[in-house]
Symmetry: C2
């Protein structure tokens, strides 16, 4: 394997385990068994290395999400259900992780970690990378659940993102769901938990519901 790719995979592992601030270029180059200067030669800076790592992982997943959503929204199709929309959002991610085996588990932690990174430059990267996907899926949900206003659906979609992120980051018992079972079961459990919440009646201020 060439130096460039060795660096990228070592960076995945280090960032996944220790976060952005907790990883040093030295620990990455040590793990990749290359010299310290090579990161600057290939990527320019620590931040640029993170961006490269993130893009390589997220871009194909988001492309697949949009492809599946396009398929659901094809002219000759009936409007997609909430369950179908959620599946198109969740499955590409979990499928990629399952497909890559050990490296998939590392990537899972890496991306979960990146979502929750305090560094503002990281959250800006994430927002950039997810802007289109977020807007498209929210639109689809608004059509599938016309009774709930879009502001609350946006918030509920964020709840789903939160769950996925947590699932990816978790190291202990929660990780078992990614390792032990096939991604199809995990996908179904996520849909089973989140879909009813998406369809629940709007909650407006001042109205006693519970």
């Amino acid at each position: 394997m060439d130096t460039r790719q060795r660096i990228l995979e070592a960076a995945e592992r280090e960032f996944a385990e220790h976060g952005f601030h907790g990883s040093s270029l030295r620990s990455i180059t040590r793990a990749a068994r290359v010299n310290v200067a090579s990161i600057h030669y290939y990527y320019g800076s620590k931040e640029a290395l993170l961006r490269a790592t993130l893009e390589q992982i997220v871009s194909p997943v988001n492309a697949e999400r949009l492809r599946q959503l396009d398929e659901l929204q094809a002219e000759d199709q009936p409007p997609p259900t909430v369950e179908q929309i959620l599946r198109a959002f969740i499955a590409p991610d979990l499928e990629m992780i399952a497909r890559l085996g050990t490296r998939g588990a590392i990537i899972a932690r890496f991306s979960g970690r990146s979502y929750t990174e305090p560094e503002t430059v990281v959250s800006r990267m994430i927002n950039d990378l997810f802007a289109e996907v977020g807007a498209r899926f929210l639109d689809a949900l608004c059509i599938a659940v016309p009774d709930v206003d879009s502001e609350q659906l946006r918030w509920r979609l964020r709840c789903l993102v939160a769950i996925i992120t947590y699932l990816l980051t978790a190291q202990g018992t929660a990780r078992a769901l990614l390792d032990a079972e096939d991604f199809e079961t995990t996908t179904r459990r996520l849909i089973a938990f989140a879909a009813p919440g998406m369809k629940a009646p709007s909650v407006t201020a001042g109205l006693e519901v519970v």
Copy 2:
């Protein structure tokens, strides 16, 4: 205000904003306008400072959670519903945040951040602090939803924790829910989203559901 407390509140702010690794003792003492050595004098180390900060915030919230659950499970009461259990879990947290105003917002980010901290010593602290609460609430849920096995309920409870964590950490649009609206509305929205998912039928491997 005395030096000890000044350090603690500055640490909340710094850790909330930049995470554990991203905060330096120097930035904390600068914000608290005390000298660098005082942290070691009062707390011993950076790690011990984090633990002190975390405990001061989390302990009263968890005590209140258990108190409310005790009340629901009193002998003369009917067994609590899922909605009641979730409320006892969610409300003490959001109520404290709302009550503290500006500092509440900082504390919200701080605790959300701590949950997702890569540092293993931090996640051990969190696990310690939440062991009892987690076990008690899981037991209550198992009784309220007897049709779903406890392993899946444990996972669904984690989903709720994930959502709360994300909500607390979020800085942008999601934060609006903590600032703009009263905590009672946020509590009801959370319950509305999560309760149906808790009660959803079990998903077992190999069974085609969706």
